[in-house]
Symmetry: C2
Subunit: 150 residues, 2 copies
């Protein structure tokens, strides 16, 4: 498993906020109830999103959260990297490039690097808005005919 509940719930929260965008702040209790997730657990997750600058928050009564930007300005990649720390599929690929001491002679490294690239490119090409729109073409493919089998 590469994306834990932390990343998945973070995305769920972001999508929920994006769907219920308005002038008001949205409380965590509302999100937790709508999405049927533990509010206490979401608390720790939304805190990461907030500290990462993805949200605006307001404390006190009628407080809550809202997106800091519009939905099409968030890629899934950045949301998951913020919450999960890294999306690298293996330990030998770090966020800041290759890290292994055997890298120079490792014949499997190009495979891992290629996998990392494929994942990064896919998730970097999809935004919160695409999810709200249910843009299946973009998410499930079929839009690059000659690469359908890629």
């Amino acid at each position: 498993m590469m994306v834990s509940t932390k990343g998945r719930y973070a995305l769920t929260v972001m999508v929920d906020l994006a769907k219920h965008t308005g002038e008001d702040y949205i409380s965590l209790a509302d999100i937790a109830e709508r999405e049927n997730l533990s509010m206490k657990y979401l608390e720790s997750i939304i805190s990461i999103l907030n500290k990462g600058g993805m949200l605006n928050s307001a404390r006190g009564k009628n407080g809550g959260y809202k997106l800091a930007k519009s939905p099409e300005e968030y890629t899934i990649n950045e949301i998951l990297i913020l919450t999960e720390g890294s999306l690298a599929p293996v330990n030998c690929i770090m966020q800041d490039g290759v890290q292994c001491d055997k890298a120079a002679t490792c014949s499997t490294l190009p495979l891992w690097a290629g996998l990392d690239k494929v994942i990064d490119t896919y998730l970097g090409g999809i935004t919160l808005q695409d999810i709200i729109d249910g843009n299946r073409k973009k998410m499930l493919g079929d839009y690059c005919g000659q690469c359908a089998q890629l």
Copy 2:
């Protein structure tokens, strides 16, 4: 992290066996020494490969392992799925399709399904032979111009 040392070492073992193919069986001690990995740990990993039918083995003196098929007949996908159990990037995507009870209404599911597909397609398109050949074009892309940014 989606692929643990188990899957990585399994691939390393397969590549090593593919590189040193001959009429003789290759002992685990040789592999462990060449790849500088714990033989005891490799033992448990190669056992999975062997039981999964990917290898032929011989016990006793001069025994060891060899590939059951030729290198171009093994996709990376099947090696990793055998050893890791699954390559699904999230828990809601199982090897036998979708498993979550909220699937019907989940707006993020198409994203996870798409990610799974992208990974599966990439790893299913590369064989042991590609790794031995150092086929960077296939592993690192650039061979599908219009999809370079995909």
